[in-house]
Structure formats: structure tokens, C-alpha cells
């Protein structure tokens, strides 16, 4: 009797079919999410219009009316909010890009130093990591900012450690070469040098694979990359007229100046993120078993080759994924700039939404921008990761 029941294939109703049921649930879920989203959106509009608060992105074309302290592009209060927003975005990208490069360098050096057999170096590296990793970044920013502000003298008493480089509580002012057409050609020469070096290294690798003969790619590449622009520079008559900073009235005019806010933010981000990167690098190197190095030594590889050809490629596989999250968090942490007065995206968007009252639009724009930046970094790092990942054949 029992076997009877099992054997008889009761014709399942549509609802009993797991596949169909699964699809139905998914459709229901998506519909619920969409409905909730639409309801919330509608609710926002109702609430805003009830309180007579303006909506829409029309405000972006209005005159911004407020000043911004530092900008990579020309900006004046007569420009539109959209331009002010762009200024903030560029400031964020600027500090994040430099921060990522410097934090990577610092983190790598410290990470390797922690593994050093020199007692002092490894302990110092450890103290650095443990200290700065465990203090909230915001406090560190206030610390650096206060230090730069309080310890440096007023502009009229500024220090001049190098000719025409002035350090004061307004930041560091240094000379920049006046623009000259030769500089453009130098940049071109640099590009040519880089491309030629890449070509040579390919050729050298193929030749080595074919004949076993080695080619000093490193030295030749260095000569090309540095030498070509230098030849152009000398050929162009060595134009090096400097735009020197000069104390005029209240501040230094001319040259280029790094503000204490930017310096404090950069320092804070680099020192803080550097600790995490150091630990990631250390973990990556430790993850390559000692046997690999021993095998390399047994094959007679020199220490440099051992690191470059055996240890590093394997360590990178471990290092890159967590490194991506550090780059992401550095970029996002740059929004703390608002606390110390660096005009980053959040700072300017906050001012904008405060002057226009359009909080929803302003916050939506901030979120969209950070999302875009973060996803871009992720994509780039994932591409790089794929190139170093273990290729299974």
C-alpha cells in the first residue's frame, strides 16, 4: 500500500513544481522591491512638497556664490554649482590618487621591514603599525592638522629650508617651472621611452626563451626613460625659468602651494592606510612557503631573482584582493576631509545642499560619485588580479 503511493506519480499541480515555484518567488520578490522603492520615492516627493522644499537637479546650473579654497581647475563664486561640484570631485580624486600611491609605497616598505632580521627595524615597523592602526583616523587628522598649523611659523616668518621653498602655517610654497613648449616635447619623449622599454623587454624575453641569452633590459630601459626627455630638454635650450613664490601682502603668490589641510589629510590617509597595507604585504610574503625559496636557491637563483621571479608573483596573489579594499577605504575615508576644511567632494556637496536646501539630491550625488569611484577601482584591481592570478592549465 505504502509503495503504491510512492510509485503513483501524482500529477503535480503547477504550484508544486519547484522550478516554477522558484521563479514565482523571485518575481514576487523583485515586484515587492520595486513597489517599495516606488513607494519610498513617492513618499519623498510628497514630504518635500508638503514642506515646500524645492526638488530636482535644476539647482546645479545656478550660481554657486561661495568661494573654494583650493581647486585644480579655474573656479570663481560666479560659476555654477555643477562646476563647484566638479572642483570637489577633482580634489577628492587628487588626494585619493596620491594617497594610494604613497600608502602603497609606505606599506610595502614597512611590511618588508617587519620581516627584517634586524631587531631594531622590525620592532620600529611593528610599533608604527600597532600605533597608527589602532587610533581612529579622524583623531589622526586633527593631530596632523593641529601639528602643521601650530608648529609652523606665520608667512612673514616662514622657514626657507631650500632656496625658494617656504614653509609656513599657510602650507608649503615651492617654485614651478614656467610653462614652455619644450616641456610638452619632453613629455612626448618620456612616452616614447616608456613604449620603447616595453617593446625591448618583450623582445628580450622572447630572445631569452629562444636562446637563453639575457639582455640588460633594466639599464637600457632606465637610460631610455630618463635619457630621451633629458636630450630634448638640453636640445630645447634647457628652459628652466621658475615661477617663484613670493610674499606679497598676506600670502605667498606664485609658484605652487600645498595647503596644511591637504597635507594633513594626505599624511593622515597615507600613515593610517599604510599600516593595513604593511600587514597585507607581510601576510602575502609569509604565505609563500619557505620551500619555494629553498627550491630557488637550489636552482642557483640570485637573491634578487629569487624575490622577483619566485616569491613576489606568488605573494601578489594573496596581496591584491585585500589591497583593493584598502584602496577603496582610503578613497572613502578621504571624505573625513570635511572635518579639517579641505574642500573635497563631501565638503562642497554639503555646502551646496545647505545653501540650496536640496539634501536628497545632494546626498544622492555624493553616493553616486563614491559608488562610481569605488566600482572603478574594483574593476581595475580585478583586472590586475586576473593578470597575476594562478593560471590553471
Amino acid at each position: 500500500m505504502a509503495t503504491d503511493i510512492i510509485r503513483r506519480p501524482a500529477r503535480p499541480s503547477l504550484w508544486r513544481n519547484p522550478a516554477i515555484r522558484g521563479i514565482a518567488y523571485q518575481i514576487l520578490f523583485v515586484a515587492a522591491v520595486v513597489a517599495l522603492g516606488a513607494f519610498l520615492f513617492h513618499n519623498v516627493l510628497v514630504n518635500l512638497s508638503r514642506q515646500h522644499i524645492a526638488t530636482g537637479f535644476g539647482f546645479l546650473e545656478e550660481e554657486a556664490k561661495f568661494g573654494i579654497g583650493e581647486s585644480l581647475i579655474p573656479y570663481s563664486p560666479a560659476d555654477a554649482y555643477a562646476r563647484a561640484f566638479l572642483v570637489g570631485l577633482l580634489n577628492t580624486l587628487y588626494v585619493a590618487a596620491i594617497g594610494i600611491v604613497l600608502a602603497t609605497i609606505l606599506g610595502t616598505v614597512v611590511g618588508i621591514a617587519r620581516l627584517s632580521r634586524n631587531w631594531l627595524i622590525s620592532k620600529l615597523a611593528r610599533i608604527y603599525v600597532e600605533t597608527f592602526r589602532n587610533i581612529p583616523l579622524l583623531l589622526q587628522l586633527f593631530f596632523w592638522w593641529g601639528l602643521l598649523r601650530e608648529s609652523a611659523p606665520a608667512p612673514r616668518q616662514s622657514w626657507e629650508p631650500l632656496p625658494d621653498v617656504f614653509i609656513s602655517n599657510r602650507g608649503i610654497a615651492f617654485p614651478l617651472p614656467n610653462p614652455d613648449p619644450t616641456h610638452g616635447w619632453m613629455a612626448l619623449a618620456l612616452c616614447v621611452g616608456v613604449v620603447a622599454t616595453i617593446g625591448i623587454s618583450r623582445w628580450a624575453r622572447q630572445r631569452q626563451a629562444g636562446t637563453g641569452e639575457q639582455f640588460p633590459t633594466g639599464w637600457v630601459g632606465l637610460a631610455l626613460i630618463l635619457g630621451l626627455p633629458l636630450i630634448v630638454f638640453l636640445g630645447g635650450g634647457a628652459p628652466l625659468a621658475l615661477d617663484r613664490p613670493e610674499l606679497k601682502g598676506f600670502n605667498f603668490v606664485g609658484g605652487h602651494a600645498v595647503s596644511p589641510e591637504f597635507a594633513a589629510l594626505l599624511l593622515g590617509l597615507v600613515v593610517y592606510t599604510g599600516t593595513f597595507i604593511a600587514e597585507i604585504v607581510r601576510a602575502g610574503i609569509l604565505a609563500v612557503s619557505w620551500g619555494q625559496s629553498e627550491a630557488a636557491m637550489a636552482l642557483g637563483l640570485k637573491p634578487g631573482h629569487r624575490t622577483r621571479l619566485i616569491v613576489l608573483p606568488q605573494a601578489l596573489r594573496v596581496i591584491i584582493p585585500p589591497m583593493t579594499s584598502q584602496y577603496l577605504s582610503l578613497t572613502k575615508n578621504s571624505s573625513l576631509a570635511v572635518a579639517i576644511g579641505y574642500p573635497d567632494l563631501v565638503s562642497i556637496a554639503n555646502t551646496t545642499l545647505n545653501q540650496t536646501g536640496q539634501a536628497v539630491e545632494g546626498i544622492a550625488m555624493i553616493m553616486a560619485v563614491y559608488l562610481t569611484i569605488s566600482l572603478t577601482i574594483s574593476v581595475l584591481m580585478n583586472l590586475y588580479n586576473r593578470s597575476v592570478a594562478l593560471v590553471e592549465r
Binding site: 561661495f66 568661494g67 563664486p77 545653501q355 539634501a359
Partner: protein
């Protein structure tokens, strides 16, 4: 701290998740009565306007406006929750319902009144923007500030006036924009900026209370803007707007009529019909506002009239020693004027 910094985001979420039923009569008064207290947005600390005293109680001119409102509604001046807000946080805090009103040195402007969905109560303090500079800079006029670095708070009319003024006078400046008042002042006093700018009375209060040595700093003579400071409420609750308006007018009217904290009990026996109406001896005014008939009596009894508040918090009884100036009664050459309470 970080939460506050994202008050814009909180407000945005507030608009998304606020399912409140709109347009009941006087939802704010009902809410306040039910909570048993008024949530009042005040500055984060300006001596004389709003700052905690030595016992940790909030005191100052802005604070007394909240206390007067509390006295009028509850018959007790201390039913207030003070929410310190920076210039940048204040509007979102009001719009999202975190506070019931702002008594926050807020300038009444057209765009705030319209685009931000706010309503302004009568002006309680007439101010103008000024510049503070270190004496040793040797600057005598704002016209000499070309190229200066200027510390300023974001989200203020100050920030905009500053840019306007330099544009109009074809001068350049470098703003250093810092949200927290204390940080902005620290930056100025440590020499990061040549100039600190804000409403001149508040700047002067900052100079006297926070400068390492107040005499090392001066306020330049120019007043580059009009800054009529007024309490602010949300647009759309007219009953609440009316209450705040008339609570302010009653403070002024009391000074005009010579009713003080001391003599208010005698004034109840006055034969002046205006005084009788105002103090609730002749009923009607309280009912019209939806308050107790003794609303104005309580204000004056518990907090004092406009002149008393001014003298106690900013004027001659304080270290600040502000002149009444524009903030004197219209009968004494100032701009302070109350609409008739009738």
C-alpha cells in the same frame, strides 16, 4: 560626531521614511505638548547667545527665546531640550523634525524662506557681518584684505556675503571652510587664517570669550551685510508659526509697556486695557493662540522682557557689554518693534 556630519544624509532618510499624516491642525504644538518639552536647536556655543554655564545649564540670548516659548506653553521655563547644531546641520535638523524650532542666530533670507521650506519668526537681533583680524597685521579696513586667507563656517549667509563682497570690490581671497565653530576659531587664533568672519556680534563674543588674549584682535569697522537673526520653524504648520511669532512679540511689547520680571505681578492690576489683554486679565489672546491665557504673563514672570533678556545675556550686565544700537526699541531709535497684541 560622524553621525552629525552626515546630518544631510539623515535628513534625506528622514524624508524617505517620514510617513506622517500631513496637515493636521498644529501637529507641532500637539507633539510638543505630548513630549512635555520643546526641542530647540541652538548654536554649538557662542558666549552670550547660547553656551552652557558653569553648572552645565544652557544660557544666553538664543536660549532665553526657547525658555520664553516654554514658559508660554507649559507655564515653566525649563521644559526645553537644547540641541546644539552647527550652521550646516541646523536646517536639515529642523526640516526632518529633529527640532521644533531653531533659535540659532539664523539670518532671514528669501531663498531660505522659500526653497528650504522654512518660516521665519520676527527678528530678535539685528546684526551685520564683520571681519576679525589680529592687531599685529596692521589692517584698518576690510578694503585692505586683498589676498587674505579667511576662516569661515560653511552653510552660512556669511560664506556667501564674503564671496559677494570680494567680488564687488575686485579682491581675491582664500577661504578655509571649517564646519565646527571651535575648530574654525582655533584655526584662526593659531594663525592659519588672516581673518575670521561671521556675524559681528557673534564674532565679538568669540573674541572676548575664546581668544587667547582678546586685546590682540580687532573687528574691522565695515559691516558688509544685513544679518537679521530670527527664530525659524518649518513651513506648513501655521499655528506653531503664530505661537513663536507672538511669543517673541510679547517679549518686545512687555518692554514697551514697561512690564518687567519684577513688576509683572503689580502690572496685573493695571487699568491699561492693553496690559490687561496681554497678561490675560481680559481673556481672549491665549485662546486665540491655543495657549493658556497666562501665556505672556508666564513669559515675563519666568524669563523677563526683551530688554531684560538682552541686558542679562549680551548687554550691560555681562562682560560682552553690547550696545543696544539697532536692537533698541523703536521708541529709542532702534528697530525692535512689536505688532499690537489685540
Amino acid at each position: 560626531m560622524t553621525i552629525r556630519r552626515w546630518s544631510g544624509a539623515l535628513a534625506a532618510v528622514g524624508f524617505v521614511l517620514d510617513f506622517g499624516v500631513a496637515a493636521q491642525a498644529g501637529p507641532t504644538l500637539d507633539k510638543v505638548k505630548q513630549a512635555g518639552q520643546i526641542s530647540c536647536g541652538v548654536p554649538t556655543g557662542i558666549a552670550g547667545f547660547a553656551a552652557p554655564d558653569s553648572q552645565g545649564h544652557w544660557a544666553g540670548f538664543d536660549v532665553d527665546v526657547c525658555r520664553a516659548l516654554s514658559a508660554a506653553i507649559f507655564g515653566a521655563a525649563d521644559k526645553v531640550k537644547y540641541v546644539p547644531l552647527t550652521a550646516q546641520q541646523r536646517f536639515t535638523a529642523l526640516q526632518s523634525g529633529e527640532v521644533d524650532l531653531l533659535s540659532n542666530n539664523t539670518t532671514d533670507t528669501l531663498l531660505r524662506d522659500t526653497q528650504l521650506g522654512l518660516n521665519f519668526a520676527p527678528v530678535v537681533f539685528y546684526d551685520g557681518q564683520g571681519f576679525m583680524v589680529p592687531k599685529k597685521l596692521g589692517v584698518k579696513s576690510a578694503k585692505e584684505l586683498n589676498g587674505a586667507t579667511i576662516c569661515v563656517q560653511p552653510g552660512t549667509t556669511t560664506e556667501l556675503n564674503l564671496a559677494d563682497y570680494f567680488r564687488a570690490n575686485k579682491m581675491e581671497f582664500k577661504p578655509v571652510v571649517i564646519e565646527k565653530l571651535d575648530e574654525a576659531l582655533n584655526a584662526f587664533f593659531s594663525g592659519r587664517c588672516d581673518v575670521y568672519t561671521g556675524d559681528s556680534s557673534a564674532v565679538n563674543a568669540n573674541r572676548l570669550s575664546q581668544a587667547p588674549n582678546p586685546d590682540d584682535y580687532i573687528i574691522l569697522p565695515e559691516r558688509i551685510s544685513k544679518e537679521p537673526l530670527a527664530p525659524v520653524v518649518r513651513h506648513g504648520d501655521e499655528e506653531w508659526t503664530d505661537i513663536v511669532r507672538w511669543v517673541v512679540y510679547a517679549l518686545i511689547e512687555a518692554e514697551e509697556k514697561g512690564i518687567t520680571q519684577k513688576n509683572v505681578d503689580d502690572m496685573v492690576k493695571s487699568d491699561d486695557p492693553n496690559i490687561k489683554r496681554m497678561l490675560g486679565v481680559t481673556p481672549g489672546m491665549g485662546k486665540a493662540l491655543g495657549l493658556d491665557e497666562k501665556w505672556a504673563y508666564n513669559e515675563i514672570k519666568l524669563v523677563g522682557n526683551y530688554g531684560e533678556i538682552f541686558d542679562r545675556t549680551l548687554g550691560k550686565d555681562t562682560e560682552l557689554k553690547f550696545e543696544r544700537g539697532l536692537n533698541n526699541l523703536w521708541t529709542h531709535g532702534g528697530l525692535i518693534y512689536a505688532m499690537p497684541i489685540r
